[in-house]
């Protein structure tokens, strides 16, 4: 009988040398996610990325009960094609006090939240919309390298000629090395996919709602980029999503219960050339000291799963479990909504709900705080969202601030 041990706060703080970080320096004025919106998820939306974006934003504003003319901040992924100017023009925004996009690739959801929080705390903007609208299946497909490929230019001159051409290649390289170092297996990855499919089967919005997946289906599926099998790879999705951030004070007066941003941390992706660890090992100390909680305090987690092994790597590198124990954690059912110690990707994640580059997982993180998920965890104290390869994470909580 396998016994899963959570790392205790003491070991964890020692592991990350957490006392080096002064949490008292963090501004304590709270920001909250006050509205969420999304379109349907499909393989062919039949409309432009701008239309998907606007539909999602309008849905989120309606959810919050905010008039579009009140929005004074817009933020987006730099790979998003709908500029702040065209979105502002359509929404009729008169005062766009804060806008910007964050570069890298899909992995900037938490960085956008952190930036929006900083702007709101500094009174540079009052109501900020973070949006994502993408025809990721019918338009430019991430899996083909159409978005991220560099055609041998810059530093890609040293990798692309040999076949590191699409996002999955570098990530598969790290995965193979970690299999060698820690003994995790393809079967462990399969259990991530199977568990997420189980969650998607509870979620009528999910692409794979109503379609089951067994560990045998996973193990028999073809290799795409070895060690990634077909069912280790995320979906390609057309859809839109948006979240609305404002001060907690303002959020209290709005339509929905606020999802308070307890902590938000970010890191860039450059360190990945080690092919051994995700960036979570860099941001975990900051995240947990900012949140003033330990990983074992988290009730439910959404983890960026463009490829299933990265759920396991995040569990290990953020300190939920020790390095090398993530596979057993998953295989013993601990990430399942049905009886797991830490349910992960409760809407089906990028593997089975939709691949919105972290946006759909931010939405699910908020739903878990509100109590409206289709795989709702009881009594959520803290809802965790990793937005990609450990390069960013957010901790959300219900409004316990009087």
């Amino acid at each position: 009988m396998l016994i899963i041990k959570w790392q205790c706060s003491e070991c964890l703080f020692a592991l990350f040398n957490i006392n080096d970080y002064d949490a008292s320096m963090v501004d304590q004025s709270k920001v909250a996610i006050a509205g969420i919106g999304e379109t349907e998820y499909s393989r062919a939306s039949g409309r432009s990325e701008l239309v998907l974006t606007l539909e999602a934003i309008v849905a989120a504003l309606k959810d919050a009960g905010i008039d579009p003319h009140e929005v004074d901040g817009l933020m987006r992924w730099s790979v998003d094609t709908s500029s702040e100017a065209i979105v502002a023009e359509n929404l009729g925004i008169k005062n766009l006090n804060w806008f910007g996009d964050i570069s890298q690739a899909g992995n900037v959801g938490a960085a956008l939240v952190a930036s929006a929080c900083a702007a709101i705390r500094s009174n540079l903007a009052e109501i900020i919309v973070i949006y994502r609208g993408v025809n990721g299946r019918s338009g430019r497909r991430y899996g083909s390298g159409a978005v991220t490929g560099r055609r041998g230019q810059g530093l890609s001159a040293f990798s692309e000629p040999f076949g590191l051409l699409t996002p999955q290649h570098g990530l598969a390289m790290m995965t193979q090395r970690r299999m060698y170092e820690t003994g995790i297996t393809s079967r462990h990855f399969g259990m991530v996919s199977v568990t997420e499919r189980f969650h998607a089967n509870r979620n009528p919005r999910a692409t794979f709602f109503g379609r089951s997946l067994t560990i045998e289906d996973h193990q028999e599926s073809r290799f795409v980029v070895e060690p990634f099998r077909l069912f280790d790879c995320c979906l390609e999705t057309d859809g839109g999503g948006a979240i609305i951030l404002t001060s907690l004070d303002r959020a209290k007066s709005l339509r929905q219960p606020p999802a308070v941003v307890r902590a938000a941390a970010q890191h860039a992706y450059a360190s990945s050339r080690d092919y051994t660890d995700t960036a979570a090992k860099f941001i975990a100390p900051r995240l947990w000291s900012q949140a003033k909680i330990a990983p074992s305090d988290i009730s439910v987690a959404q983890i960026y799963d463009h490829f299933s092994p990265f759920v396991i790597f995040a569990l290990e590198d953020y300190g939920f479990v020790a390095r090398g124990e993530g596979g057993d954690f998953v295989e013993s059912g601990q990430m399942s909504w049905d009886g797991g110690i830490l349910p992960v990707n409760t809407s089906g994640g990028h593997l089975s709900e939709a691949y919105m580059q972290g946006m759909n997982q931010l939405l699910e993180g908020v739903r878990q705080v509100r109590g409206t998920s289709t795989a709702q965890v009881l009594d959520v104290d803290f809802s965790f969202v990793d937005t990609g390869i450990g390069t960013g994470a957010v901790v959300l909580e219900p409004d316990n601030y009087g």
């Binding site: 083909s144 490929g149 810059g154 990798s159 051409l165 795409v224």
Partner: protein, 143 residues
């Protein structure tokens, strides 16, 4: 070219674009030398090339001659030609080789079936001339 001998040698999926700051790397490969940036101040090696040493922030560097010996650090095998460049080329193994001197290079291993590749295998460099400007650093197993 000896067709028989070249049969397992991968042509590059696409050619590298040579940038001014990287030109010495490509010039030395054309002379069948693998040279890696070495910080003149703290002697740290760095690859791929960058303007600054991440250890001590010095811009000064030399191009240090490497032994060309190393071992396989990790690898992937592309089975599905997700990118058009892979058409007709799969399965293709892409490998990270850790040089004996430390730096890790992305490369391909010549004359071996992808299914035989394992982490820890000892390898040595093979210089493969592509054209007058570009010679690529591939590797092969040491018997």
């Amino acid at each position: 070219m000896d067709k028989q001998k070249d049969i397992m040698i991968p042509e590059p999926l696409l050619m590298p674009v040579i940038e001014v700051e990287h030109s010495l790397f490509w010039e030395s490969l054309s002379k069948n030398e693998l040279r890696i940036q070495k910080c003149s101040n703290c002697t740290a090696l760095r690859y791929p090339p960058n303007p600054m040493c991440s250890q001590c922030q010095s811009f000064d560097h030399t191009w240090e001659l490497m032994s060309g010996m190393g071992e396989i650090f990790s690898y992937v095998v592309t089975h599905q030609p997700t990118h058009s460049a892979f058409r007709g080329r799969t399965p293709l193994a892409t490998v990270v080789v850790e040089l004996n001197e430390g730096p890790r290079l992305v490369t391909n291993i010549l004359n071996i079936s992808p299914s035989k590749i394992k982490i820890g295998m000892k390898v040595q460099i093979v210089f493969q001339k592509m054209n007058d400007e570009i010679t690529l650093p591939f590797f092969e197993l040491i018997d």
